[in-house]
């Protein structure tokens, strides 16, 4: 039977906050209730976490208790005809892919890494490159079982009238502990993808390509060089894809590299990033077409284990915003100008249009509009000041930030961005908390 053990210097994926918390890692579902009861003696509240791929403080609970769910990773059942899969919340998307693909199924929605748990994916209502078609992952959750801090267990289905299901989708783990869930997978004929990459010279071209491609392709996303300025501002590479109609269905687990140690911070200065971005743009070159496995298409960074350590011991911030369609081009332009002027770009600047498929969660991040995501190496006050300037642009545009990526968003901005909040708090479990929930007053 597992118990809570104090740890110091617990980190999230962004490696910026280092917190002290008591962690228990159960191996069997029957340990959950005793642990939840035991956590009441720990004053800081309780949080369930998965593989801690959230970047900021939503998967940390400074001074509190944490149940690490990654040991509860059993697959419970899989109907190979209908594609319905039931699993414990700690099962990773990588685990699910291993059984789904040979049977002719794929995740209906996937984030940019497969090393997240099902429970974490639900609690953050994750999205992917097919948002304009499929919406968020929460739309594909048929049932889930939730244990509240008072010990009550709720079996919730997607037609739940109480509102607890909707609050739990994207609810950041604050409505109860997700013990298991049932997911509808999508059928595929092949695990290969037909991918077209198209360079674009500026932001207007991106919006034109996005509008055209969202109508024709299942998956669309763009990489943007956020360090170029002037006429080249907003240049990048657009990628659009659909599933191959024929071919093999093979699990692709290749992991080429690992980053064993923290890189020294100077590796990621303005010049190396600028060179990297320029190189990437040329590499993409002309418009081209390729047939690639699902793995490099959906999970390019999974090939580099521990890539977050490239940012060194100081860690990094990720910033992901979404702004509504009417002002999307102007607001995105202003953000890119601000970032280029500050000279603090990143490896990854990802631009994508979200469709109007409604998100089921009360606190789901995606809404119709354009989302921009970038990493910023943590350079202290200078970086935070830049992010404040970006906040002002997003707020003015009527947009919001993604809590899974965030480690510093001001409470007022969180409240302003999430109108579902007043309904959400009715379902909030008072025994649960995270560093994020305390910081934004949730």
């Amino acid at each position: 039977m597992s118990s809570f053990l104090p740890t110091s210097a617990a980190l999230s994926w962004g490696r910026t906050p280092r917190v002290s918390q008591s962690i228990a890692r159960p191996s069997f579902a029957d340990e959950l209730r005793p642990l939840i009861a035991d956590a009441r003696r720990i004053p800081g509240g309780l949080l369930a976490t998965g593989l801690r791929r959230s970047y900021g403080d939503s998967c940390l609970n400074d001074g509190g208790a944490v149940i690490d769910m990654s040991g509860l990773d059993r697959l419970i059942s899989f109907d190979r005809v209908t594609g319905r899969l039931v699993a414990e919340a700690g099962a990773s998307l990588a685990d699910i892919l291993k059984v789904a693909i040979p049977a002719g199924f794929l995740l209906p929605v996937t984030p940019g890494t497969k090393f997240v748990t099902l429970g974490g994916a639900i609690a953050n209502d994750v999205h992917g490159k097919n948002h304009h078609r499929a919406g968020t992952l929460g739309r594909w959750i048929r049932r889930l079982s939730l244990i509240r801090s008072d010990g009550a267990e709720h079996e919730l289905s997607d037609d739940d009238a109480s509102g607890l299901f909707a609050a739990t989708i994207g609810g950041l783990g604050l409505t109860g502990i997700i013990a298991r869930a049932e997911l509808q997978l999508q059928p595929i004929a092949s695990s290969m993808m037909e991918v077209e990459t198209i360079p674009f010279g500026n932001l207007s071209e991106f919006f034109r390509l996005a509008e055209e491609s969202d109508a024709t392709h299942d998956y669309t996303v763009a990489w943007v060089d956020c360090l170029s300025s002037g006429g080249a501002l907003g240049r990048g590479v657009f990628s659009r894809a659909w599933h191959s109609r024929e071919g093999s269905r093979e699990v692709d687990d290749k992991r080429a590299l690992a980053v064993p140690i923290d890189a020294p911070g100077f590796l990621l200065n303005r010049f190396s990033l600028s060179a990297f971005n320029a190189f990437y743009y040329r590499l993409a070159g002309r418009r081209r077409h390729a047939t690639v496995s699902y793995n490099p298409f959906f999970y390019p960074l999974d090939a580099i284990g521990g890539w977050n350590r490239l940012y060194g011991r100081q860690g990094f911030y990720q910033y992901q915003s979404v702004v509504p369609p009417a002002v999307a081009e102007a607001a995105t332009m202003e953000m890119l100008k601000t970032i280029a002027a500050a000279g603090q770009g990143s490896f990854l600047a990802v631009l994508k249009t979200f469709g109007d498929v409604p998100s089921p969660g009360l606190l789901s991040f995606p809404m119709k509009g354009t989302t921009l995501a970038l990493d910023f190496a943590n350079r202290g006050p200078r970086t935070l000041a830049l992010l404040d300037r970006l906040d002002a642009i997003v707020r003015e545009a009527g947009g919001r930030l993604y809590p899974a990526k965030d480690g510093r968003l001001p409470p007022e901005m969180f409240r302003a961005g999430y109108p579902g909040l007043s309904e959400f708090v009715k379902h909030r479990d008072p025994g649960l908390s995270s560093s994020f929930s305390r910081r934004v007053g949730l």
Binding site: L5, D30, G71, R74, S77, F78, L85
Partner: protein, 250 residues
């Protein structure tokens, strides 16, 4: 030796972290798997997982290893599974060394589980496999059995005895068909070692150890370290003169 058809495996102590990771490797091969342990509800949840991951068939056996009749239990599993090719003994009790020094019952429990009962199961398994003329017995030992240390020597003594027993069974099997292997993991990140300061180069994941256990059922042995670097480390540790060893604290 590779199997033309998926193997049939019986795992004793199927709820342990290393056992579960090993069982998942068998499940991916579409093996037939028998899970033996003391907690039927937990075994059922493991069985569902293995079936979902591809196992051809999974059966559970409610067995208290210390009190059960090993030979009869093996015969029952053999009938239920339609034959057994691999027997993996994965149960163990780490215990508390300090407590074992002051409380004779605590010491006896560590020795009973890790040696007395495990030895009885190994001897029964040896007869079972010898009669079949084929198959493998893979037993989880520990590097703790290679040199007595003040922090865990009761556990270490039981695992040392078990290692010699399995080595002897391997010798008995020589030229007869069946195989016996003792796998000695270093520190492994499982529930058994909860509370220890983990991380660093000496700790292995249960998946890493499981891959070695799975391979040991097919070839190699009779003594396998997991990961392999522990063979060198323990060779060095065994040769440290006690004048120096006595000053070391681990």
């Amino acid at each position: 030796m590779t199997h033309s058809s998926p193997p049939r495996v019986l795992i004793l102590g199927a709820a342990s972290g290393i056992a579960q990771a090993t069982a998942r490797l068998y499940a991916a091969e579409r093996a037939t798997i028998g899970l033996a342990g003391r907690n039927p509800a937990r075994l059922t949840s493991i069985a569902d997982d293995l079936k979902t991951r591809g196992a051809a068939r999974v059966a559970t056996f409610d067995i208290d290893f210390v009190s059960a009749d090993a030979a009869a239990s093996l015969a029952e599993a053999d009938a239920e599974l339609g034959g057994v090719d691999h027997i993996i003994l994965a149960y163990g009790l780490l215990g508390d060394q300090r407590q074992a020094e002051s409380d004779a019952d605590a010491a006896r429990a560590i020795l009973d589980v890790n040696f007395r009962s495990a030895a009885a199961w190994c001897l029964a398994a040896a007869n079972f496999l010898e009669q079949k003329g084929k198959g493998s017995l893979v037993v989880l030992g520990s590097v703790a059995g290679d040199r007595g240390r003040r922090s865990n020597y009761v556990y270490g003594a039981a695992k040392a005895g078990l290692a010699v027993l399995v080595q002897g069974i391997s010798h008995r099997f020589a030229g007869k068909g069946p195989r016996a292997v003792i796998v000695k993991p270093g520190p492994t990140d499982t529930a058994m070692t909860a509370g220890m300061a983990k991380g660093g180069p000496l700790w292995a994941s249960p998946e890493t150890v499981a891959a070695i256990v799975r391979k040991a059922a097919d070839r190699g042995g009779p003594i396998v370290y997991a990961p392999a670097r522990w063979r060198l480390i323990m060779t060095i540790i065994r040769t440290i003169p006690s004048a120096i060893f006595d000053k070391m604290n681990f």
